[in-house]
Amino acid sequence: MLPDPRLADLPLVVALLALALWLIATRHDRSAIIGFTAYGLIVAIVWVRLGALDVALTEAALGGIMGLLLLMAAARLGDAPDGPPPTWPLRVLVGLLCGAVTAGLAVLVLTLPEPAPNLVAAVAEQQSATALKNPVAAVLVAFRAVDTLLESAVLALAVIGLWSVGADAAWGERPRALDSDAPDPALVLLARLLPPVGLVVGVHLFWTGADHPGGPFQAGALLAAMVALVWLARLGAPPPVRSRLTRVGLMLGPLVFLLIGLAGVVAADAYLAYPEALTKPLILLIEAAKTLSVAVALALLVAGPPALPRARP
């Protein structure tokens, strides 16, 4: 424990704000994106400082594929601005408006009531009914199960929406946003070494998520990052979008969750409730299916819409 916690926190805050300002000011999209990846790492550390390890893991796991996604986009989009630079009066006006929003939020943050209202005790009291020792997992899979369910539906719909952006002629083909002509040998080496480690860590995150920080989101995001790395290094290729197996993998998590939730009204007196004797195995089943579907969805989101192979000149 440091003598004064601000010794650790203040530099982090300054770094975040300085990096954010630099990100919107810098000229090149590519360097802004690399900066944003670094920014994500600092945010993950901040979550540790805030005592939110589950969020820190999610942020770290998602940060990697987010950086990959944006970098591939920047490579395809070029670095040209899409309009004349904003005029100075407009800059000043928008700056003042944003400053006013920040000032208002600062007042709100500083005047939050004391003692802080919270649900720590409520979660702790009811947590035993869920057979989970990790309170965040209990909130996600039991108390606020409907949000988690709808959120996995969002992921699935996002993939369908993303696929629909592709050309008609390419429908049924495989995604090719990660294709490159000749992957860097260092990248290929990394893609050979890292995934086995990632797989072990991912499964561990899923398995311990019931009692310790971790869970389907974190594990799924990490697995997706490993899969994307393999695709990027051309050690494998994303499946074609016509593949039914892929679609089953994508939908399995929310489907299992929803069907068990619907059955709850018969088996446990309420929708999205679990019968007492089966709580642990049912939650394990839901989380396993969800880990798979999160991994599939995130990897497919990075891989982009289906595309025809690029014509070689």
């Binding site: 601000r6 975040l16 901040v46 005592g51 920047a74 943050v109 209990a138 996600l140 952006v165």
Partner: protein
Amino acid sequence: MTAAELYGLCGAGLVGVGLYGAILGRSALRRLLGFNLMGSGVFLIFGAVARRGGLAGGSASDPVPQALVITGLVVAFAATALAVALLVRLAAVRREAGAARGAALPAGATAAAAHPESDGTGAA
């Protein structure tokens, strides 16, 4: 000032910076980045709420806002991926349209790209 307040203020600052980037960013990708910065500011304010609630309730962090942030992070990622796909496809369609015009193909061949009904918001 507590750490929760400090990070809450940081979140407030990031929301402002992110909004500026989302409104005045020089390219669509940068505006998208601005949205992500703003989102991370919003999540940090959630983090401040979680930390305050956690300390008041005798734990490191209130699990409910933490769970909400996890859900929100995944949604924000999906949104970014969809936006990127739209941008990349838009650039490709424009390139194809440009190439088709450049090659001066017979009129019918460019119909898909330069169809008159797709002329956006042709106000009178």
